[in-house]
């Protein structure tokens, strides 16, 4: 036994020393750190594909991926260790693709002042909390959520829509609220329903994806929605449980629909019952940043990128998009197109200023929060984002009046 | 069916349990297998019945060598063993247990018919739908015998079958065994240390000592001859001893006990210093419940337990031990000793005066006790590596030196005559110093020999024999079967 051990040891050490050094590429090496699996058909996969887009369009660039960096899946490692390894491999740009990394990104960035960090969906570069080498980027998916909400409002027959939210924060509240505004508008204006009679219920499972024993079980929650009379459930989480359950119930003959979220191919799980999917297209923003980092011209900034209204689903120009699903009836699809055109017109009338949006469609007074606080008076628009102003879309402190569900 | 064993060897570490054993067993006979504890008889029987493989040697059945692994395979060639504690599943009914091992095609109805037929043949009374947990040991034996016979067994091995059964059941069992050998030509192997049984039943005996076959003898033979064969020397019968009996130490005042199997109603008794009280009864008749209630392992449903006038009724087991009771349970490795701990560790466990263990002192004390109690084993041996007799000795060595009352479940369970006498010598020494002893035993002989008073239990009822010297084994045998009225007459 000991002889074998010695032999193996000697061979191992010998081979170790014989190993050539890892070859380095000339082009940009960038790290992509994901909170979930790179094939989660959701948030993390969208980022991963954004990175692939960079690799395809920036010659010589190479992506290093680290998936599922969270304390449940990888308790043995930290953001610092992963970044250290990536920088060791020559990475000069690190993308941390979750708000889970927001705080750690700032801390780690201090240790690597020569490396550029991008924290997707964060706002520390906007508020000035981040070090000088950290930037943020986000897509204006609120538009797509408005459209998705409209599709739900057009389709519901029971007048009851469920929204499966992840955890509760400003981002998730504003997205749920956008969906609600779209649903309410289309339910009233195209379908002719009474907006006060529309039930829009939000259930938060507690995290971006199912962690057994920690979060609520998304599958069970979707079933609860349908059992309680909803016929459309919208997903706000990173994984496709909504579509899976809707598909299963439709197969049993129920007339139910789902709206997917945050990954372009989100409808593929159950195409027949999918009303559509609002999604992020990180490629263009990442390519822009990577190109500038490669040229040495990037200064960290905070960007909130909108859709290309001429073609929302153009992979090279639009940062967010909406793909209508097969579950949408022809008549409703026509109404939805009309709605999109209306939003496009609105966006044209309220163009971005200094890289920031100035207004979002339907985020117009009179609007109040759940506790009655006035968010915008008649004729006013809710401001998209403003430093130290919680009554903005970005920081939305509560759900809107008319929505059912916890705000905190 | 003729069985031949050729040069069987079996080693357990340092112990040569079976050393070159060869013998021929002819059909149609009842053969007693004798030997003191650790002589290797159980090992040999387990090898023959497939429960253990031999290290070397051969088993020939009707001249053909067989090589089986496991008891099922042994049964297939016609050899079945009835374990001392029958291996039935308590939760299953009689017929369900019976079905176990039968051909898969057998229906429940067929099983019931076959069960009834074989039972009738031998006068067994087995209700097919009774869960086996509710059967007495005697009935469970009967069930196992019926099952093995239905499986076509032609050689039946019985390990201490008369322990824990009533006189009536013993008669039925012996009749059945005789019928099987005389009328059906089966081979019956009887492992027993009860020489009376062997004399009454066997056609010949084989004797093992220290792993070797040391002799065989055609019956009839006298008890003294058999003892000489087993021990190589004669052992004089132990005299009934009587000591000085003092004042009451343990008082039971209308104690009522309810445990899972039995209810004992309103028992009052004063146990006096230096007195030995023997509890007789079939397994689960109330004697174990009474002993455990005395030491606080079972709560009493009513009445009081006092030691030297101090009320212990609500005290815990540990408090009662501190107050002067001592207890040892029947199942040594299940209750009493901790398999995996060494002798020294057991000794250290008994001293709870200090937080740190003084290992040198514990080792020294163990060494002393090993010598004093004549334990075959070393201080650093794990307890389960000792033989049953030596485990019992160690259990005795651990008990406090001079408790007020010792309450002992089957203190000589599984011990050979020599070891059993030795244990009793020890107990009687303590008794001479004023310790009262309450014990039970399935061996009625033991109860008659050592008790000053006897309490016989049957299904929770009890009958007190105030002067044990008037009791006989035969009378007790009938009493434990429930014939209290007859005794009163």
């Amino acid at each position: 036994m000991r002889k074998l051990f010695l032999a193996v040891l000697i061979v191992a050490v010998g081979l170790l020393m014989a190993l050539p050094a890892v070859a380095q590429d000339d082009g940009l090496t960038f790290g992509m750190i994901l909170v979930g699996p790179q094939s989660d058909r959701g948030w993390s996969q969208a980022h991963y594909e954004g990175g692939q887009y960079v690799e395809a369009n920036l010659p010589g660039s190479q992506m290093l991926v680290f998936e599922s960096l969270n304390s449940a899946d990888a308790p043995e490692t930290t953001l610092l260790q992963v970044v250290t390894e990536m920088v060791d491999q020559g990475a000069t740009l690190i993308i941390t693709s979750s708000d889970a990394f927001e705080e750690d990104t700032d801390v780690v960035a201090e240790a690597f002042p020569d490396v550029t960090f991008i924290n997707a969906s964060g706002d520390n570069a906007f508020t000035g909390e981040a070090p000088a080498n950290v930037g943020n980027t986000m897509g204006q998916v609120e538009w797509a959520k408005l459209i998705a909400g409209c599709a739900a409002g057009l389709t519901t027959e029971t007048g009851s829509i469920g929204y499966l939210g992840p955890l509760i924060n400003g981002e998730t509240r504003r997205l749920a609220a956008s969906a609600y505004l779209g649903a309410r508008y289309c339910y009233e204006n195209y379908k002719g329903g009474d907006p006060a009679a529309l039930t829009f219920t939000v259930t938060w499972i507690g995290f971006w994806f199912n962690i057994p024993g920690v979060t609520l079980d998304p599958t069970a929650e979707v079933n609860t929605f349908f059992d309680n009379g909803a016929d459309v459930v919208m997903s706000g989480i990173d994984t496709p449980e909504v579509m899976t359950v809707a598909g299963q119930r439709a197969e049993r003959g129920e007339s139910v629909y789902g709206v997917a979220y945050d990954y372009a191919a989100g409808c593929d799980v159950a195409p027949g019952v999918c009303l559509g999917v609002p999604y992020f297209n990180w490629g263009p923003a990442y390519l822009d940043i990577a190109t500038r980092v490669n040229e040495g011209t990037y200064t960290p900034e905070w960007t909130w990128n909108g859709p290309d209204w001429s073609d929302m689903n153009n992979p090279d120009t639009s940062s967010v998009g909406f793909i209508a699903g097969d579950g949408l009836s022809e008549e409703n699809a026509a109404s939805l197109d009309e709605f999109i055109a209306m939003l496009a017109t609105f966006a044209e009338e309220h163009p971005d200023a200094d890289g920031l949006p100035t207004a979002f469609g339907l985020w117009e007074g009179p609007l109040a929060l759940q506790d009655g606080t006035v968010l915008a008076a008649e004729g006013e628009f809710v401001k998209p984002i403003e430093a130290d102003n919680p009554l903005t879309i970005w920081y939305l402190p509560q759900l809107l009046e008319g929505m059912v569900g916890a705000s905190e | 069916m003729e069985i031949e064993l050729q040069h069987i060897h079996k080693r357990f570490g340092r112990v040569h349990a079976n050393n070159d054993i060869s013998m021929k067993l002819r059909g149609g006979r009842i053969i007693g297998v004798l030997g003191e504890n650790g002589a290797g008889k159980s090992t040999l029987m387990k090898i023959l019945s497939g429960y253990q493989p031999a290290d070397s040697g051969a088993i020939l059945i009707d001249g053909r060598e067989v090589d089986y692994h496991g008891p099922q395979a042994a049964i297939a060639v016609g050899v079945g063993m009835l374990q001392q504690d029958p291996l039935d599943v308590p939760a299953f009914t009689v017929v369900e247990n019976f079905l176990y091992g039968q051909p898969p095609a057998m229906t429940r109805r067929e099983a019931r018919a076959k069960l009834a037929q074989i039972s009738r043949e031998f006068g067994f009374e087995l209700d097919p739908e009774t869960p086996s947990a509710r059967l007495s040991i005697g009935q469970r034996q009967q069930l196992e015998i019926v099952r093995l016979l239905a499986l076509g067994v032609r050689t039946l091995i019985l390990d201490e079958p008369t322990t824990g059964i009533s006189a009536q059941q013993k008669t039925i069992l012996f009749d059945a065994l005789q019928a099987l050998s005389r009328e059906q030509g089966m081979t019956v192997l009887l492992v027993s240390h009860k020489l009376e049984d062997v004399i009454a039943l066997c056609d010949e005996v084989v004797v093992l000592r220290a792993g070797r076959l040391v002799g065989d003898k055609m019956m009839p033979a006298t008890k003294a001859e058999l003892v000489q064969l087993m021990f190589g020397q004669e052992i004089a019968p132990q005299e009934r001893s009587s000591g000085h009996i003092g004042d009451a130490v343990l008082e039971l005042d209308s104690v009522t006990i309810q445990d899972r199997r039995v209810r004992v109603e309103s028992l009052s008794m004063n146990v006096r210093a230096g007195e030995v009280i023997g509890l007789a009864g079939l397994d689960g008749s109330g004697q174990e419940a009474l002993m455990r209630a005395c030491v606080g392992l079972i709560n009493v449903a009513g009445g009081r337990v006092r030691l030297n006038g101090r009320d212990l009724t609500r005290q815990s087991y540990r408090d009662r031990m501190h107050a002067g009771l001592a207890f040892s349970a029947a199942g040594r490795l299940e209750e009493g000793l901790v398999a995996g701990l060494t002798l020294t560790e057991h000794m250290a466990l008994m001293d709870n005066s200090r937080a740190m263990i003084d290992w040198p002192a514990a080792r020294q004390l163990s060494g002393k006790q090993i010598e004093r109690y004549n334990v075959r084993g070393r201080a650093e041996d794990r307890i389960e590596t000792l033989s049953g007799g030596n485990q019992q000795r160690w259990l005795m060595a651990l008990l406090p030196e001079q408790p007020r009352v010792m309450i002992l479940e089957q203190p000589t369970r599984g011990l050979d005559i020599d070891s059993a006498r030795w244990v009793w010598q020890l107990l009687l020494d303590r008794r001479a110093h004023g310790t009262a002893i309450i014990f039970n035993s399935p061996d009625l002989d033991e109860i008659v020999t050592y008790s000053d008073r006897i309490i016989v239990f049957f299904a929770g009822r009890f009958h007190v024999i105030e002067d044990a010297s008037t009791a006989t084994v035969d009378a007790l045998g009938h009493l434990i079967g429930g014939n209290f009225e007859e005794a009163a007459r």
């Binding site: 036994m1 000991r2 051990f5 193996v8 081979l15 170790l16 190993l19 790290g31 991926v65 680290f66 304390s71 449940a72 990888a74 308790p75 043995e76 490692t77 260790q81 992963v82 250290t84 390894e85 990536m86 060791d88 889970a100 927001e102 705080e103 508020t127 955890l167 509760i168 400003g170 507690g206 995290f207 962690i211 920690v214 402190p397 | 357990f12 570490g13 340092r14 253990q52 392992l297 079972i298 087991y317 490795l333 299940e334 209750e335 000793l337 995996g340 701990l341 560790e345 466990l349 008994m350 001293d351 709870n352 937080a355 740190m356 263990i357 794990r382 389960e384 590596t385 049953g388 651990l398």
Partner: protein
Amino acid sequence: MTANRTTLRVALLVAPILLSLLITAVLVLAVGKDPIEVMTAILEGAFRNSNAIAGVVNFWIPLTFACLGLVITFTAGLWNIGVEGQMMMGAVFASWAARTIVLPTPLLIPIEIVLAMAGGAFWGVLVGVLRVRLGVNEIFGGVALNALASVIVIYLISGPWQPPEGGSAQSTPPFPAESLLPEMSPEFPVSLLALVLALVIILTVYFALRGTRWGLNLKATGKNPRSALLLGVPTTQTALSAFIVCGAIAGIGGAYRVLFTFDSLRPLPSGGIGFLGLLVVLMVANHPLIAPIVGFVFATILAGSTRLRVVLQLDQSLAEVLQGFVVLLVLMANGLRGRILSSPRSSPEVVQEQPAPTTVTSAAEAASHE
């Protein structure tokens, strides 16, 4: 134990680890990668420089705390699945101190650690009380309390302890610098205090199990609670004390996660380290000195695999496969060792040795009679 047996013991621990490396190498070949490169990446990832070694040590420290706690409960025959929750509660209590108490570091750290021990012990005693008083199997009780601890953590993070800019359910705001465990040096970022504490606890547990009455009580209770009770061991108190001590030690591990690994309370601060600890302790059959060594092997493989994933872009499951093989093969070797070492000593009465550790099927029963 003779020298020969010790050699065998060590060989039977090392051999399966090497064998599992070999099997993994074959698997790596099968997916078209170079196994040598894989092993190199792991070893480099773990030991390339002092920073990398620190990464291994920083995973090893909480794992060791979990392991040592579990050695105690396993010795008492208890399957303390709840160790994960006990770590989490240690983290919560330490977090409370770090957030609330304003004191200089040398005063604050001991308070945090004591509170973490109290938190873990509290969670441990709950499992114990459920076990000995209500007869709830400690496995079920542990699972339930793990879930509850996790819910409490998430509640605190997204509720009362959320950052001022609003909860994101990701973490509390960073604790003040004074409340965190200081690192030895930037080149070797490891908490000296925690390292020393880990070593002290390893030795303490070792000697407590060997040399104290309490350790012997644990052992007796674990092997046979009925007999232990009859021999005068207070089995109920012993079982409870095992849960308390295990919880307290695991609580330190939890505190380490929030006061050093992170700088704030995060969801699932224990990160499954407690479960890994269960595996390790099972593998080494409760040995308090060998558990930290095997724990180090695991820490090496896991921490080293970070580099593996970045450099070779291999799926993370590879490290898990490797870990799985290590566990499986070591457990098999344990069975083998049981046969080799115990067969010359087994007695005619005991045909099969009981697997260690045994569950205390009748402990509750035994306890109820106490």
